[in-house]
Every structure is written in C-alpha cells, then in structure tokens.
C-alpha cells in the first residue's frame, strides 16, 4: 500500500468517526485529536475501524505513532508494506 492509498483510507475513516469535520481541511502535521476534536474513545474508534478495514491489528503500544495524519499514514504504509490497496 502506498502513501496515497493509506491517506485515502485514513481520511475516509476519520470522516466516519467525526462527520462534522472535513478531514481534508485538517493540517496533516498537527495533532489529529486537537484538529478534529477527537477524544481518546474516538481515537480507539478510528483504530478499530482501520483494523477492520485493513485486516491488521494495531497494538496499544503503537498508538503514540498515530498523532498526526502524516504520522498515521506513515505507520500504515510501514505496516502494510508489500500489500496492494
């Protein structure tokens, strides 16, 4: 999976968890929780939905890697290296 594919999936997932904010307008380098007004339960919702959609498990210890949109995209690309979107 490449950067563009991972970004598309993440933005779609964020849009389902926080439909009142267009994730494409969010600064991709800023903290997602502040930019999109997400709390820790919302973030777990994002993680659960990404896991379901991508068929991976995102362990709790990896959540510090998921701070911004860019961080999360880089993490997903690393995790899904060699998997086509």
């Amino acid at each position: 999976m490449n950067d563009a594919e991972a970004r598309q999936i993440l933005l779609e997932t964020l849009a389902t968890v926080a439909p009142e904010i267009d994730p494409t307008t969010v600064d991709p380098t800023a903290e997602i929780r502040d930019e999109m007004d997400l709390d820790s339960m919302d973030l777990l919702n994002v993680v659960s939905r990404l896991e379901q959609r991508l068929g991976i498990t995102i362990p709790e210890r990896d959540t510090p890697d998921l701070v911004s949109i860019d961080d999360t995209v880089a993490y997903l690309v690393r995790r899904l290296e060699g998997v086509s979107g």
Binding site: I21, E35, D37, S40, M41, L44, N45, S48, E60, P64
Partner: protein, 203 residues
C-alpha cells in the same frame, strides 16, 4: 490511603465567555487563540479558568498569579505548588477539574452517558473485567463499559503515563489491582446528570 481532593464541574455552552478568557495568563490566551477548532478552544479556556479558580480557592493563592505548566505527557502542573495533583477532563458540554493539594496521584475522566459509537472496549479490559461485562445484561452493560473506560482513563492519568500503559493492565473493577494504587483508588462521582465521572486518587 485516600487523599483529600477538590472536584469542580463547569458547563460548556458554545464559545467561552470573555470573563473566562480574562482569567487566563497571557501565554494561555495566546495558546487558546491559536487553536483552530472552536470546541477545543472553548474546552481549554473553560478548563484553565476553572482550574485557576479552584486552585486559587483551595491553595490560597491568587488565581491570576498561578503558573500552570504542562508536563511532558501533557498533564497540567502548578509551578507554585508542584507537589499538588491536578487533573482536567472534558466532554463537549462539561469540564471536570480535580486538585489534590498533597498528592500527585490524581486523575479524573468524564464521558457523556448518551455517547454513541463506543468502540469494542472489551479488548482493553482485563479477564475479570470481561467476565463482569459478560455477566451484565443491557442496558446496565453500557453503563458498566463507560464506568470501566472512565475508571481506566482516570487511573492512567493518576499514574501519569498517558495511554503508554496498556489499558488492559489497568484493572479497575471489581477493584484496582494496578501498581501502587490501593484497591479503592477509583471512585465514580455523581456530580453532573448525563455524565460518568471517574476519580482516581491516593497518597
């Protein structure tokens, strides 16, 4: 041992009023003004103003002169009273502030009880907590899950570790079994209708 703690709730209704902005320090006002999300900004302003007011009252310090620093893990710290515990939590319509003058082992967390889109939280629960959930029928199960979640979040904040400590290891029901915290370290407070509020504190 259970420590003395003061807890206050403040409602949030739209943008924070001017008098609350005035209660903030220059650097807090600048930080709030830079926030692009209005709801996040309102929560920050109401939370900091409430924190300053409560700290001023129970610690006997002029609220305007307090320096509220932030620890590396994002937790508020009172520079003038570094031994005091401080914790803040918020939903879309409520801020909860807790201050324990004599212990840093303090954490508070709140969630709205009508919250929908709750992720499958069983995964972040211990075996005993999962058994408890399985034994509890709806609609009490939804209440129990929010109790577990807020309790774990409050305990995590009290340890000062953020989400780095696996929540599965932060067992709160039927009793706290984590680290140095006593079994009764977590309590649930009935302070605001429609909100679950968990408080973790010990000394």
């Amino acid at each position: 041992m259970i420590a003395a703690v003061a807890v206050r709730t403040c409602a949030i209704a739209g943008a924070a009023p001017t008098e609350l902005w005035r209660a903030l320090s220059d650097s807090e006002r600048a930080r709030a003004a830079a926030m692009r999300n209005g709801a996040v900004q309102a929560r920050f302003v109401v939370g900091r103003a409430a924190l300053r007011a409560l700290a001023g009252e129970i610690l006997g310090i002029d609220a305007h002169r307090l320096t509220v620093a932030t620890s590396p893990l994002g937790r508020p710290v009172l520079a003038e009273v570094p031994s005091a515990g401080v914790s803040v939590s918020a939903t879309s319509d409520l801020v909860v502030v807790a201050i324990a003058p004599e212990t840093r082992w303090l954490g508070v967390d709140t969630e709205r009880t009508d919250r929908t889109a709750v992720p499958p939280l069983e995964r972040w629960c211990s075996a005993r907590e999962r058994q408890l959930i399985a034994r509890t029928p709806d609609p009490r199960r939804a209440v129990l899950i929010l109790r577990l979640w807020t309790g774990k979040e409050a305990l995590s904040k009290a340890f000062g570790t953020g989400i780095v400590t696996p929540l599965v290891d932060l067992e709160v029901l039927p009793a706290v079994t984590s680290g140095r915290a006593p079994p009764d370290a977590v309590r649930w407070l009935d302070l605001a209708p429609g909100h679950q509020i968990a408080l973790a504190v010990w000394s």
